[in-house]
Symmetry: C2
Subunit: 445 residues, 2 copies
C-alpha cells in the first residue's frame, strides 16, 4: 500500500515588465530598459523554472492604458513572446492572456494549439472578456460590450474553440507513404458551428496538440465570472484581501462546479499575492516604504479612477473617497471595483493611503516580511481552505522573483509544501489536471 | 573613389512542411513526421542562415484545405512558429503570411511589432487578402469577400497598421527615473482612424520596433495585386513560368511604383523557383520523375480544380482540360488561374501532364538540373531584368534546402552573385531597403 499523495502548492509567476508595483520601474532592482528585450523575459522564465514553478503568466490588454507617462507600459504581445520563451525553456508552463471579446475563435484556437505544439504541451490560456472602452475603440466600437453579453460571447467562444481542438482526433495522422494516405480524414471533423456570435465551419488546420486543449484559466470573480469559471476553468486567478474572503470565494467556486458535472478538484484556485521580501521584517517594510515613496500620485489617482469608474482627478490626496456607484452600474471589472471600495470603507483610507495600498498589487494582497513569514502566510491560506496555490506577483522584477525562488521556495520545500523536482512534462501535469478526452474518440471506430 | 557596389541576388527560403512538391511527404528525403516539431523548423532556418539567405518565409491559409488525406497539411501558425525560430537564429529574416481580410489591424500591427522586437529587426509580413470560401466559412461568412473589396480593405488595413507602427516615435521612452517620467507622451500619438472598414483609436501598446515597420511583402499578381504592390510592397513574390513573362512583370511592377512617388528600386522582385537538384542532370531528372510517380492523382485533380474554379473530378486524366471561365469571373487567385490556363493551352497538356507540371511548384517555375545549371538559370533571370532574387521552393525538405545551400549557394558566390557574409543585422538591411521614417518625427519638436 502506498500512502496517499500529499497535496502540494501550485505556484505561478505572474510577469509584468518592471514588476507589479507601479513604481517598480524607478527602483534600482528593476530593469525597465529591458521591457522589449526578449532575453529579459527568457531570463525571468528560466529563473521561475529553476524554482520549479508551475508556470509563468502574462496579462494583456488591447490598448495602451494612456498612462505610459508614469509607468513602464507597452511591450510584447503575449503569444509571440511566450513562443520565443518556449524555445529556451524545458518544463515551465506558459500562460498567455487573450480576449474572447476582440478575437475570433479560429485564430485563437489555432495560436494556442500552435504554442502547445511548440512548447511540447506547456500552453495555457487566461480567458478574459476585456473590460475597457479604450480597447473597444481599437476594434471599431465606441462603447464596450455589456458585461453579461461579453460572458455569453465567451461561452460560445469556448464551445467553438474546444470543438476545433477536438477536430483532429489523436492519431488522425496515419502517414501511410505506401498507400499515399497522410491523414485518415474520417478522423478529422468539421466544427459546423452556427451560433449567435460565431459561424465556424472547421476543421482546425492544426493537428491535436500534446495537451489536447491548452490549460484553461480564468480570472473574473464577478457573478458571471464565477459561473464561467465553474463551467470551463481549470485554474482560477483571483484577488482576495483577507483569509475569510478567500475561503468564501474558494468554497463558492468549487461548489458551483457540480452544476456543470465537474468536481471542485477539477479547478485549481490561485489567489494573487505580491510578496515584498526582506532578510528581516524591517528590511521588507523598508522596501515597501521605499516603493511607496517612489509612487507618482497622478498615476495612482488615474489607476484608481479606472478601477472605480469615477474621475478622481484634482481631489485632495489626504481626503476621503467620494461617493461611489453600485457594482451593478460598473461595466468593467466588477469584482475589482467591489474589492477596492470595500477595502477603502473597511479601513477608512484616504486617497493617498488607498493609492499606497494598491500600488504593489492593484487590489491583490500585498505582504511584506521575511521568507519564513511569507511561507507562513502561504501555508495558512493553503491549509485553511483558501487556496490551492498562488499567483506570485513580484513587486520588482527581476529581483523580487529571484528572491522568491532563492529564499521562499526552499522554505516551502523544507515544509513539504512544494515539489523538489518536476514530475510531469506538461502544464496540465504540473497542475495535476487530466488531458481532455477528444469528443469524437472511438465514435468513428 | 570606391567602385559602385555590385548588385547581388536576394534569396528567400520558402518553407513548407515536407516540401513544395505535393508528393514530397512520400519521398525518403522528407520528414513529414516532424511537421509539428519545432526543432524541425528551427533546423531548416539554421540551414538557410548557414547559407546566408536573406530570409525564411511561411505561407498561410485559414482553413484546412480538405486534402489532408493525400498531403502533409496542417501544422504551426506562422507568427507563433517564427517567434520560436527567432529565439535560436541570429541574422536570417523571418517572413510570416497574414490575411488582411480575416484580421484586425490592431492585432496584426502588434504581433508584427512584437516579432520585430523579439528578433532584433528581422520580421517581415507577407500581406495576403485570402482567396477561398473555405476560409470565409471559418469567420462567419458564407461567401468570400469580392476581389476588389478585399484589396480596398487591404489598403485601409495598411494605412492603419503603418499609423500604429508610427504611434510611438523613436525615443518616446525617456526613462527619467528621477522625475518619474517613463515615456514622453507628447511623442506617443493616437491613430484616430475612422474609415470604411476599421475604426482604430490607437496608439499601439508596443514601442516602435527595430525596423520601424516589418518588411512589407506582397504576392498577388492580378491587376489589383500589382497596384497594391506598387503602392505598399517592398518585396514581391511572384509565379512566372517564362523569362519573357517574368521580364514583363518585373518591368510593370517597377514602373507602377512611380504613381505612388516611389522608385522601382524600392521594390525587390522575387519570382519563385522550385529547383530539383542533382549532381548530374540525369540524377536531377530522375528525382523529378520519382516525385511525379509518387503523386496521388485525386489530390492533383482537387488542387487543379481549386486553382481553376472548375470541378474536374472524374474527368479522364489523359484527356484535355474542359472549357474554362474567364479571369474576370474568378474570385480567388486571379493571376494563378491565368498562369495555369495559359500553361495548359500553350503546351497543349493533358490533365495528367498538367498535374505533373504543377506538382512541384503549384504554378511556380520548376527547374531540374545540376547546381551549375540552376545557377545559370538564376543568373539569366537576374541579369536579364526578370528578377532581383528568388523565392527558393525546395521540392523536398529538408534535403532540397540543404542541397541548395551546400551546392547552389557556393556556385553563386563563386560567380560574385551572392553575399559571402551577412553585412546587415535586420531583414531590411539584407534586402538593401531603408528603415521607414516615422511620420511624426520632428513634428512635436
Amino acid at each position: 500500500m502506498t500512502a496517499p499523495r500529499r497535496r502540494t502548492l501550485h505556484l505561478n509567476a505572474f510577469l509584468m515588465n518592471a514588476g507589479h508595483h507601479d513604481a517598480a520601474w524607478r527602483h534600482p532592482g528593476s530593469s525597465p530598459e529591458r521591457v522589449t528585450d526578449l532575453r529579459y523575459f527568457q531570463e525571468l522564465a528560466l529563473t521561475a523554472e529553476r524554482g520549479l514553478l508551475d508556470s509563468v503568466f502574462l496579462a494583456d490588454g488591447l490598448a495602451l492604458w494612456g498612462k505610459a507617462r508614469h509607468n513602464a507600459l507597452g511591450g510584447f504581445e503575449p503569444l509571440t513572446l511566450l513562443s520565443a520563451v518556449a524555445a529556451v525553456t524545458q518544463r515551465i508552463g506558459l500562460i498567455a492572456t487573450a480576449s474572447t471579446t476582440f478575437n475570433e475563435p479560429y485564430h485563437l484556437a489555432r495560436k494556442f494549439a500552435s504554442l502547445d505544439h511548440i512548447s511540447g504541451g506547456r500552453a495555457g490560456w487566461n480567458i478574459v472578456t476585456s473590460g475597457t472602452a479604450d480597447e473597444a475603440r481599437n476594434f471599431g466600437r465606441e462603447e464596450h460590450l455589456e458585461h453579461r453579453l461579453r460572458y455569453e460571447r465567451a461561452a460560445e467562444f469556448l464551445e467553438v474553440a474546444t470543438r476545433l481542438w477536438d477536430s483532429w482526433e489523436d492519431g488522425a495522422v496515419v502517414l501511410d507513404k505506401e498507400r499515399g494516405v497522410y491523414a485518415d480524414t474520417g478522423r478529422i471533423h468539421p466544427a459546423a458551428h452556427r451560433g449567435e456570435h460565431f459561424g465556424v465551419a472547421g476543421p482546425l488546420n492544426v493537428p491535436r496538440s500534446p495537451q489536447g486543449y491548452p490549460l484553461l484559466v480564468q480570472a473574473g470573480s464577478s457573478e458571471d465570472g464565477r459561473e464561467f469559471a465553474a463551467r470551463y476553468a481549470e485554474a482560477v486567478f483571483t484577488a482576495q484581501q483577507t483569509l475569510a474572503d478567500a475561503q468564501a470565494f474558494y468554497q463558492d467556486v468549487k461548489s458551483r462546479a457540480a452544476r456543470y458535472g465537474r468536481s471542485g478538484d477539477d479547478i485549481v484556485v490561485l489567489p494573487g499575492i505580491a510578496p515584498v521580501i526582506g532578510s528581516t521584517e524591517a528590511e521588507a517594510k523598508a522596501l515597501e516604504r521605499e516603493l511607496t515613496e517612489l509612487q507618482v500620485p497622478e498615476y495612482g489617482l488615474a489607476q484608481l479612477s479606472g478601477m472605480l469608474g469615477v474621475d478622481l482627478t484634482g481631489l485632495p490626496l489626504d481626503g476621503p473617497l467620494p461617493d461611489l456607484p453600485e457594482e451593478r452600474d460598473i461595466n468593467g471589472n466588477k469584482s475589482r471595483f467591489t474589492l477596492v471600495a470595500e477595502l477603502a470603507r473597511r479601513e477608512d483610507l484616504t486617497l493617498r493611503e488607498l493609492i499606497a495600498r494598491l500600488g504593489a498589487g492593484r487590489g491583490h494582497r500585498v505582504y511584506a516580511g521575511t521568507p519564513e513569514q511569507i511561507a507562513d502566510q502561504l501555508e495558512e491560506w493553503f491549509t485553511g481552505g483558501a487556496a490551492d496555490g498562488f499567483n506570485i506577483m513580484a513587486p520588482v522584477l527581476p529581483t523580487g522573483l529571484t528572491d522568491f525562488v532563492d529564499h521562499v521556495v526552499p522554505e516551502l520545500q523544507r515544509r513539504g509544501l512544494f515539489r523538489t523536482a518536476y514530475e510531469g512534462g506538461t502544464l496540465r501535469e504540473h497542475y495535476g489536471l487530466p488531458r481532455p478526452a477528444n469528443r469524437y474518440a472511438g465514435a468513428a471506430a
